[in-house]
Amino acid sequence: MAASDSGSEDPHPIAGIDRLIHEPARLMIMAHLYVVESADFLFLMRQTGLTAGNLSSHTSKLEAAGYIEVVKEFVDRKPHTMLRLTDAGRGAFREYREGMMKVLL
């Protein structure tokens, strides 16, 4: 998902910033999942302050990109969703941070 369309041999570091992660809500989700091993949907909702619909929409995009793994299960006959960063997601987040450092410093 990295955006790079300048065609230059030495593109500006900002061209390499992952736009999927760069969106504020998704960045928040990625950052919160980065510091833990896994979290359920409700915990992530509380931490990010996103609504259920918003969170669901953004996590679907991150899941489609292979950045997060979503496990749906039933606990006490109620649906329960666990989320965790995949190795690819962890790597992409690290790259995003390094990229942003280069842009900002």
Binding site: A31, H32, Y34, V35, V36, E37, S38, A39, D40, F41, L42, F43, L44, M45, R46, Q47, A52, V75, K78, P79, H80, T81, M82, R97, M100, M101
Partner: protein
Amino acid sequence: MTQEINLKELEKKAYRDSQQDGLMEVMMGLILMTFGGFFYSPIFAFYILLIVFSGRIVEFVRRRYTYPRIGFVKFHREDPKDALTGVLLFELAVIVIMFTLIFISGDVTDYSQWVKWAPLFFGMILVGPFAHAQFRSGNVRYTGYAVLSVILGVYFSLIKFGSECTGLILYLVLIGGFLVLGGLVIFTRFLRKYPLFENGGV
């Protein structure tokens, strides 16, 4: 660097939020109270069961009251080698401090001196878990607990009681009771602050 700090803060906040139900305080307080009771009567030997099953008991209550309100989070495991080294170094430091203290104030071979200073010994031991919780969560209430446990430890070590173990028993029951009460207050506030999430599960 700012991002590093922010990620650390995010982790601390997640840990702090996961511990905001006060149940760890309640469990720790119960263990300390029953441990203190054990010095009074062997009937309180069930404190061992509390220690062994404390994790399961807290998890049982959290499944019913905490997770449906604030959700569930699993943290990265700390390196067992680092944790063990930290615990051993801390215990060693406490023993050295106690040894020095008793050496200065009397005879290190005198058993009654060790019993007399036992409240301070346990007070300093308690600093370990409280400091660890403070480090992980950034919550100052753990510093308060640590300071209180040492101050009460000094106080009950210096007061003279009729029986050798009375100071230690009173200390453990008092600090344990304080943690239980404090934990229950935090738990009650937690239940009021976070009503059950009504969405049929998420």
